[in-house]
Protein backbone atom coordinates (compact mmCIF):
# COMPACT_ATOMS: atom_id res chain seq x y z
CA UNK A 1 0.00 0.00 0.00
CA UNK A 2 1.35 3.42 -0.99
CA UNK A 3 2.25 5.57 2.05
CA UNK A 4 2.85 8.98 0.50
CA UNK A 5 -0.27 11.09 0.03
CA UNK A 6 1.63 13.35 -2.37
CA UNK A 7 2.50 10.56 -4.77
CA UNK A 8 -0.83 8.74 -4.70
CA UNK A 9 -3.67 8.89 -7.20
CA UNK A 10 -7.19 9.88 -6.12
CA UNK A 11 -8.24 6.22 -5.93
CA UNK A 12 -5.17 5.24 -3.92
CA UNK A 13 -5.91 8.08 -1.48
CA UNK A 14 -9.49 6.90 -0.99
CA UNK A 15 -8.29 3.35 -0.36
CA UNK A 16 -5.75 4.51 2.21
CA UNK A 17 -7.87 7.17 3.99
CA UNK A 18 -11.04 5.09 4.35
CA UNK A 19 -11.39 1.91 6.39
CA UNK A 20 -10.36 -1.17 4.43
CA UNK A 21 -12.94 -2.28 1.87
CA UNK A 22 -15.55 0.21 3.09
CA UNK A 23 -15.66 2.33 -0.09
CA UNK A 24 -18.72 2.22 -2.36
CA UNK A 25 -18.33 4.39 -5.43
CA UNK A 26 -21.19 6.53 -6.72
CA UNK A 27 -21.30 7.18 -10.48
CA UNK A 28 -18.42 4.74 -11.08
CA UNK A 29 -16.35 4.71 -14.30
CA UNK A 30 -18.52 1.92 -15.71
CA UNK A 31 -21.33 4.49 -16.06
CA UNK A 32 -19.09 6.45 -18.42
CA UNK A 33 -20.49 9.89 -17.54
CA UNK A 34 -17.75 11.81 -19.32
CA UNK A 35 -17.35 15.48 -20.20
CA UNK A 36 -19.40 16.42 -23.26
CA UNK A 37 -17.31 19.60 -23.62
CA UNK A 38 -13.98 17.77 -23.91
CA UNK A 39 -15.52 15.38 -26.44
CA UNK A 40 -16.75 18.33 -28.51
CA UNK A 41 -13.22 19.75 -28.49
CA UNK A 42 -11.75 16.36 -29.42
CA UNK A 43 -9.78 16.17 -26.17
CA UNK A 44 -9.22 13.00 -24.10
CA UNK A 45 -11.89 12.27 -21.49
CA UNK A 46 -11.79 10.24 -18.28
CA UNK A 47 -14.55 7.77 -17.32
CA UNK A 48 -14.84 9.45 -13.90
CA UNK A 49 -14.21 12.98 -15.23
CA UNK A 50 -11.28 13.33 -12.85
CA UNK A 51 -13.13 12.94 -9.55
CA UNK A 52 -13.97 9.81 -7.56
CA UNK A 53 -17.04 10.09 -5.30
CA UNK A 54 -18.76 7.70 -2.94
CA UNK A 55 -19.34 6.61 0.60
CA UNK A 56 -17.25 4.75 3.12
CA UNK A 57 -16.06 4.86 6.69
CA UNK A 58 -13.19 6.63 8.39
CA UNK A 59 -12.23 5.15 11.75
CA UNK A 60 -15.63 3.46 11.83
CA UNK A 61 -17.62 6.60 11.13
CA UNK A 62 -19.65 6.69 7.92
CA UNK A 63 -18.72 9.53 5.56
CA UNK A 64 -19.23 10.70 2.01
CA UNK A 65 -16.06 11.42 0.09
CA UNK A 66 -14.84 13.07 -3.11
CA UNK A 67 -11.25 12.81 -4.36
CA UNK A 68 -9.97 14.89 -7.27
CA UNK A 69 -7.39 13.37 -9.61
CA UNK A 70 -4.66 15.94 -10.26
CA UNK A 71 -3.18 13.85 -13.06
CA UNK A 72 -6.25 14.40 -15.24
CA UNK A 73 -6.18 18.02 -16.46
CA UNK A 74 -4.64 19.20 -13.17
CA UNK A 75 -7.79 18.27 -11.28
CA UNK A 76 -9.64 21.06 -13.06
CA UNK A 77 -13.37 21.30 -12.42
CA UNK A 78 -15.63 20.73 -15.41
CA UNK A 79 -19.41 20.47 -15.52
CA UNK A 80 -19.65 16.73 -14.75
CA UNK A 81 -16.75 16.84 -12.27
CA UNK A 82 -18.36 19.70 -10.33
CA UNK A 83 -21.82 18.10 -10.42
CA UNK A 84 -20.40 14.92 -8.85
CA UNK A 85 -18.95 16.89 -5.92
CA UNK A 86 -22.20 18.86 -5.53
CA UNK A 87 -24.16 15.59 -5.60
CA UNK A 88 -22.06 14.19 -2.76
CA UNK A 89 -22.61 17.33 -0.67
CA UNK A 90 -26.36 17.30 -1.29
CA UNK A 91 -26.56 13.63 -0.39
CA UNK A 92 -24.64 14.44 2.80
CA UNK A 93 -27.34 16.93 3.77
CA UNK A 94 -30.11 14.38 3.11
CA UNK A 95 -28.35 11.60 5.00
CA UNK A 96 -26.66 13.83 7.57
CA UNK A 97 -23.18 12.40 7.00
CA UNK A 98 -19.86 14.27 7.18
CA UNK A 99 -18.04 15.00 3.90
CA UNK A 100 -14.35 14.49 3.23
CA UNK A 101 -12.91 16.33 0.22
CA UNK A 102 -9.49 15.16 -1.00
CA UNK A 103 -8.82 18.23 -3.07
CA UNK A 104 -6.26 18.61 -5.84
CA UNK A 105 -7.16 21.18 -8.46
CA UNK A 106 -5.96 24.10 -10.51
CA UNK A 107 -9.52 25.45 -10.39
CA UNK A 108 -12.00 25.82 -13.23
CA UNK A 109 -11.47 23.69 -16.32
CA UNK A 110 -11.07 26.54 -18.78
CA UNK A 111 -12.00 24.35 -21.77
CA UNK A 112 -15.50 24.17 -20.30
CA UNK A 113 -15.75 27.97 -19.96
CA UNK A 114 -18.98 29.12 -18.30
CA UNK A 115 -20.10 25.56 -17.48
CA UNK A 116 -16.89 25.09 -15.49
CA UNK A 117 -17.24 28.44 -13.72
CA UNK A 118 -20.82 27.63 -12.74
CA UNK A 119 -19.75 24.16 -11.59
CA UNK A 120 -17.18 25.62 -9.17
CA UNK A 121 -19.64 28.18 -7.78
CA UNK A 122 -22.15 25.38 -7.24
CA UNK A 123 -19.51 23.48 -5.27
CA UNK A 124 -19.00 26.53 -3.03
CA UNK A 125 -22.74 26.94 -2.52
CA UNK A 126 -23.12 23.23 -1.74
CA UNK A 127 -20.32 23.33 0.87
CA UNK A 128 -21.96 26.27 2.62
CA UNK A 129 -25.39 24.64 2.38
CA UNK A 130 -23.99 21.47 3.97
CA UNK A 131 -22.33 23.41 6.76
CA UNK A 132 -25.41 25.45 7.47
CA UNK A 133 -27.36 22.17 7.69
CA UNK A 134 -24.91 21.06 10.40
CA UNK A 135 -22.98 18.66 8.16
CA UNK A 136 -19.19 18.85 8.68
CA UNK A 137 -17.12 19.35 5.51
CA UNK A 138 -13.39 18.74 5.90
CA UNK A 139 -10.71 18.93 3.21
CA UNK A 140 -7.20 17.62 2.63
CA UNK A 141 -4.52 19.27 0.49
CA UNK A 142 -1.25 17.48 -0.12
CA UNK A 143 -0.96 16.56 -3.79
CA UNK A 144 1.53 17.78 -6.34
CA UNK A 145 -0.93 20.08 -8.12
CA UNK A 146 -2.00 21.94 -4.96
CA UNK A 147 -5.36 23.67 -4.65
CA UNK A 148 -5.94 26.89 -6.56
CA UNK A 149 -8.50 29.05 -8.30
CA UNK A 150 -12.14 28.38 -7.52
CA UNK A 151 -11.29 25.27 -5.53
CA UNK A 152 -9.04 27.41 -3.32
CA UNK A 153 -12.12 29.47 -2.48
CA UNK A 154 -14.32 26.39 -2.15
CA UNK A 155 -12.12 24.63 0.43
CA UNK A 156 -11.83 27.85 2.39
CA UNK A 157 -15.61 27.55 2.87
CA UNK A 158 -15.14 24.17 4.59
CA UNK A 159 -14.96 23.53 8.35
CA UNK A 160 -11.31 22.58 8.35
CA UNK A 161 -8.39 22.00 6.01
CA UNK A 162 -5.62 19.48 6.67
CA UNK A 163 -2.41 20.18 4.75
CA UNK A 164 1.05 18.72 4.42
CA UNK A 165 4.09 20.94 4.07
CA UNK A 166 4.17 19.91 0.42
CA UNK A 167 0.58 21.07 -0.13
CA UNK A 168 -0.15 24.47 -1.64
CA UNK A 169 -3.28 26.56 -1.27
CA UNK A 170 -4.02 29.82 -3.02
CA UNK A 171 -6.33 31.74 -5.31
CA UNK A 172 -4.27 32.63 -8.40
CA UNK A 173 -1.53 30.05 -8.81
CA UNK A 174 2.12 31.13 -9.14
CA UNK A 175 2.18 30.77 -12.95
CA UNK A 176 -1.01 32.79 -13.26
CA UNK A 177 0.40 35.63 -11.15
CA UNK A 178 3.61 35.65 -13.16
CA UNK A 179 1.71 35.66 -16.46
CA UNK A 180 -0.64 38.46 -15.39
CA UNK A 181 1.79 40.70 -13.45
CA UNK A 182 5.28 39.80 -14.63
CA UNK A 183 8.21 37.88 -13.23
CA UNK A 184 9.28 40.88 -11.09
CA UNK A 185 6.01 40.56 -9.20
CA UNK A 186 6.25 36.81 -8.71
CA UNK A 187 8.80 34.33 -10.04
CA UNK A 188 6.87 31.06 -10.34
CA UNK A 189 10.12 29.13 -10.93
CA UNK A 190 11.44 30.15 -7.50
CA UNK A 191 10.15 27.11 -5.64
CA UNK A 192 11.23 28.37 -2.21
CA UNK A 193 9.29 31.60 -2.82
CA UNK A 194 6.25 29.64 -3.99
CA UNK A 195 6.22 27.55 -0.79
CA UNK A 196 6.85 30.60 1.41
CA UNK A 197 3.72 32.12 -0.16
CA UNK A 198 1.24 29.26 -0.63
CA UNK A 199 2.85 26.23 1.09
CA UNK A 200 1.44 24.27 4.02
CA UNK A 201 3.59 25.80 6.75
CA UNK A 202 2.76 29.36 5.74
CA UNK A 203 -0.94 28.52 5.52
CA UNK A 204 -0.78 27.02 9.01
CA UNK A 205 0.94 30.06 10.48
CA UNK A 206 -1.70 32.32 8.96
CA UNK A 207 -4.48 30.12 10.33
CA UNK A 208 -5.76 29.04 6.89
CA UNK A 209 -5.51 25.33 7.69
CA UNK A 210 -6.36 23.53 10.90
CA UNK A 211 -3.18 21.51 11.06
CA UNK A 212 -0.26 20.33 9.03
CA UNK A 213 0.83 16.71 8.88
CA UNK A 214 3.71 14.71 7.44
CA UNK A 215 3.19 13.37 3.94
CA UNK A 216 1.82 10.05 5.20
CA UNK A 217 -1.62 8.59 4.45
CA UNK A 218 -2.05 7.57 8.08
CA UNK A 219 -1.37 11.16 9.23
CA UNK A 220 -3.96 12.60 6.85
CA UNK A 221 -6.45 9.96 7.93
CA UNK A 222 -6.04 10.73 11.63
CA UNK A 223 -6.19 14.50 11.13
CA UNK A 224 -9.29 14.28 8.92
CA UNK A 225 -11.08 12.09 11.49
CA UNK A 226 -10.13 14.55 14.25
CA UNK A 227 -11.32 17.54 12.25
CA UNK A 228 -14.71 15.91 11.65
CA UNK A 229 -15.03 15.47 15.42
CA UNK A 230 -14.00 19.09 16.05
CA UNK A 231 -16.29 20.63 13.40
CA UNK A 232 -18.52 23.36 14.78
CA UNK A 233 -21.68 24.95 13.39
CA UNK A 234 -21.78 27.67 10.75
CA UNK A 235 -23.44 30.72 12.28
CA UNK A 236 -23.42 34.46 11.72
CA UNK A 237 -21.05 34.71 14.68
CA UNK A 238 -18.51 32.30 13.17
CA UNK A 239 -18.59 34.18 9.86
CA UNK A 240 -18.14 37.53 11.61
CA UNK A 241 -15.28 36.13 13.67
CA UNK A 242 -13.62 34.92 10.46
CA UNK A 243 -13.99 38.37 8.90
CA UNK A 244 -12.51 40.01 12.00
CA UNK A 245 -9.59 37.59 11.84
CA UNK A 246 -8.95 38.49 8.19
CA UNK A 247 -9.07 42.23 9.01
CA UNK A 248 -6.52 41.74 11.78
CA UNK A 249 -4.32 39.79 9.38
CA UNK A 250 -4.39 42.61 6.86
CA UNK A 251 -3.58 45.15 9.58
CA UNK A 252 -0.74 43.09 10.93
CA UNK A 253 0.87 41.74 7.78
CA UNK A 254 -0.43 44.03 5.02
CA UNK A 255 3.01 45.49 4.38
CA UNK A 256 4.82 42.15 4.25
CA UNK A 257 6.29 41.28 0.86
CA UNK A 258 7.45 37.75 1.66
CA UNK A 259 6.45 34.86 3.89
CA UNK A 260 9.59 35.45 5.94
CA UNK A 261 8.37 38.98 6.81
CA UNK A 262 5.15 37.48 8.16
CA UNK A 263 6.97 34.83 10.19
CA UNK A 264 9.30 37.47 11.68
CA UNK A 265 6.30 39.63 12.58
CA UNK A 266 4.74 36.59 14.24
CA UNK A 267 7.78 36.41 16.48
CA UNK A 268 9.87 33.74 14.79
CA UNK A 269 13.41 34.80 15.77
CA UNK A 270 15.08 33.23 12.73
CA UNK A 271 12.44 32.83 9.99
CA UNK A 272 14.97 31.17 7.67
CA UNK A 273 14.64 27.96 9.72
CA UNK A 274 10.88 27.63 9.11
CA UNK A 275 11.08 25.82 5.74
CA UNK A 276 13.78 23.47 7.05
CA UNK A 277 12.10 22.41 10.31
CA UNK A 278 10.58 18.93 10.62
CA UNK A 279 6.80 18.97 11.02
CA UNK A 280 6.77 18.15 14.75
CA UNK A 281 9.46 20.73 15.60
CA UNK A 282 7.68 23.30 13.44
CA UNK A 283 4.29 22.62 15.02
CA UNK A 284 5.60 22.89 18.60
CA UNK A 285 6.92 26.39 17.92
CA UNK A 286 4.16 27.43 15.51
CA UNK A 287 1.34 26.58 17.93
CA UNK A 288 2.76 29.03 20.46
CA UNK A 289 3.14 31.82 17.89
CA UNK A 290 -0.23 31.20 16.27
CA UNK A 291 -2.00 31.31 19.61
CA UNK A 292 -0.23 34.51 20.68
Amino acid sequence: MIRSYYEATARERIDAILDARSFRELMPPTERVVSPHLQALSLPVAFDDGVVVGRGAIEGREVLIAAQEGGFMGGAVGEVHGAKIVGVLQRAIREHLPVVLLVESGGVRLQEANAGLIAVSEVMRAILAARSAGVPVVAAIGGQYGCFGGMGIAVSCSNAIVMSEEGRLGLSGPEVIETAHGVEEFDSHDRALVWRTVGGKHRYLLGDCMTIVDDEMVEFRGALAASIEAAGPLTLETVEAEHAKLSRRLERFGDATDGEDVWRALGWADPAVVPLADTDVFLTQARLLRAA
Binding site: R21, P28, P29, T30, S42, P44, F47, D48, F72
Partner: protein, 109 residues
Protein backbone atom coordinates in the same frame (compact mmCIF):
# COMPACT_ATOMS: atom_id res chain seq x y z
CA UNK B 1 -9.01 11.89 -31.38
CA UNK B 2 -9.19 8.48 -32.95
CA UNK B 3 -11.42 5.56 -31.98
CA UNK B 4 -10.14 2.01 -32.45
CA UNK B 5 -12.00 -1.25 -31.84
CA UNK B 6 -10.59 -4.77 -31.60
CA UNK B 7 -12.31 -8.07 -30.94
CA UNK B 8 -10.65 -11.36 -30.03
CA UNK B 9 -12.16 -14.81 -29.63
CA UNK B 10 -11.02 -18.15 -28.22
CA UNK B 11 -10.09 -16.87 -24.75
CA UNK B 12 -10.88 -18.26 -21.30
CA UNK B 13 -13.65 -16.94 -19.09
CA UNK B 14 -12.73 -14.96 -16.00
CA UNK B 15 -14.33 -15.61 -12.63
CA UNK B 16 -14.24 -11.92 -11.71
CA UNK B 17 -17.65 -10.36 -11.20
CA UNK B 18 -16.49 -6.78 -10.77
CA UNK B 19 -14.93 -4.12 -12.95
CA UNK B 20 -11.60 -2.46 -12.25
CA UNK B 21 -10.01 0.77 -13.49
CA UNK B 22 -6.26 1.40 -13.55
CA UNK B 23 -4.15 4.36 -14.64
CA UNK B 24 -4.99 8.02 -15.04
CA UNK B 25 -5.56 10.04 -18.24
CA UNK B 26 -2.49 12.17 -17.54
CA UNK B 27 -0.02 13.31 -20.18
CA UNK B 28 1.73 10.25 -21.64
CA UNK B 29 -0.56 7.99 -19.64
CA UNK B 30 -3.88 6.21 -20.04
CA UNK B 31 -6.73 4.63 -18.09
CA UNK B 32 -7.87 1.07 -18.66
CA UNK B 33 -11.37 0.04 -17.60
CA UNK B 34 -11.81 -3.73 -17.52
CA UNK B 35 -15.28 -5.23 -17.07
CA UNK B 36 -16.82 -8.68 -17.23
CA UNK B 37 -19.46 -8.50 -20.00
CA UNK B 38 -21.60 -10.99 -21.93
CA UNK B 39 -19.81 -10.87 -25.30
CA UNK B 40 -20.45 -14.44 -26.53
CA UNK B 41 -16.97 -15.47 -25.47
CA UNK B 42 -15.22 -12.52 -27.05
CA UNK B 43 -12.79 -10.00 -25.56
CA UNK B 44 -13.21 -6.50 -26.95
CA UNK B 45 -10.84 -3.55 -26.69
CA UNK B 46 -12.11 -0.03 -27.40
CA UNK B 47 -9.57 2.76 -27.51
CA UNK B 48 -10.03 6.52 -27.62
CA UNK B 49 -6.62 8.04 -28.23
CA UNK B 50 -5.35 11.60 -28.52
CA UNK B 51 -2.58 10.47 -30.88
CA UNK B 52 -4.00 9.89 -34.37
CA UNK B 53 -2.50 7.49 -36.92
CA UNK B 54 -1.06 4.81 -34.63
CA UNK B 55 -3.61 2.06 -35.43
CA UNK B 56 -0.93 -0.44 -36.49
CA UNK B 57 1.00 0.01 -33.23
CA UNK B 58 -2.17 -0.34 -31.13
CA UNK B 59 -3.12 -3.49 -33.02
CA UNK B 60 0.31 -5.03 -32.31
CA UNK B 61 0.21 -4.09 -28.60
CA UNK B 62 -3.36 -5.31 -28.10
CA UNK B 63 -2.79 -8.58 -30.03
CA UNK B 64 0.35 -9.22 -27.97
CA UNK B 65 -1.69 -8.57 -24.80
CA UNK B 66 -4.37 -11.06 -25.85
CA UNK B 67 -1.74 -13.71 -26.58
CA UNK B 68 -0.48 -13.27 -22.99
CA UNK B 69 -3.96 -13.00 -21.44
CA UNK B 70 -6.56 -14.75 -23.60
CA UNK B 71 -9.73 -13.54 -21.87
CA UNK B 72 -13.34 -14.24 -22.74
CA UNK B 73 -16.44 -12.15 -21.96
CA UNK B 74 -14.33 -9.18 -20.96
CA UNK B 75 -14.73 -5.61 -22.22
CA UNK B 76 -11.67 -3.37 -22.09
CA UNK B 77 -12.08 0.38 -22.62
CA UNK B 78 -9.16 2.76 -22.87
CA UNK B 79 -8.87 6.54 -22.68
CA UNK B 80 -5.38 7.38 -23.90
CA UNK B 81 -3.44 10.62 -23.66
CA UNK B 82 -0.37 9.69 -25.68
CA UNK B 83 1.00 6.73 -23.70
CA UNK B 84 3.90 4.81 -25.25
CA UNK B 85 3.35 1.14 -26.27
CA UNK B 86 5.32 -0.13 -23.25
CA UNK B 87 3.14 1.87 -20.85
CA UNK B 88 0.01 0.59 -22.58
CA UNK B 89 1.18 -3.03 -22.26
CA UNK B 90 2.03 -2.57 -18.56
CA UNK B 91 -1.35 -0.94 -17.83
CA UNK B 92 -3.19 -3.76 -19.59
CA UNK B 93 -1.28 -6.32 -17.51
CA UNK B 94 -2.05 -4.32 -14.36
CA UNK B 95 -5.76 -4.27 -15.27
CA UNK B 96 -5.83 -8.07 -15.64
CA UNK B 97 -3.94 -8.51 -12.38
CA UNK B 98 -6.39 -6.27 -10.50
CA UNK B 99 -9.39 -7.95 -12.09
CA UNK B 100 -8.09 -11.32 -10.88
CA UNK B 101 -7.61 -9.91 -7.38
CA UNK B 102 -11.03 -8.26 -7.35
CA UNK B 103 -12.69 -9.16 -4.07
CA UNK B 104 -16.34 -8.18 -3.68
CA UNK B 105 -16.89 -5.57 -0.92
CA UNK B 106 -18.11 -6.82 2.44
CA UNK B 107 -21.88 -6.72 2.90
CA UNK B 108 -23.17 -3.52 4.51
CA UNK B 109 -23.74 -3.72 8.23
Amino acid sequence: MEHLHYRFTGGRKTRAAESRIVGVVASGNLEVLIEPAPLQGACTVDIDTAANGFGAVWEAVVADFFSRHPLADVRISINDNGATPAIVALRLDQAVEELAAAVPPEPRA
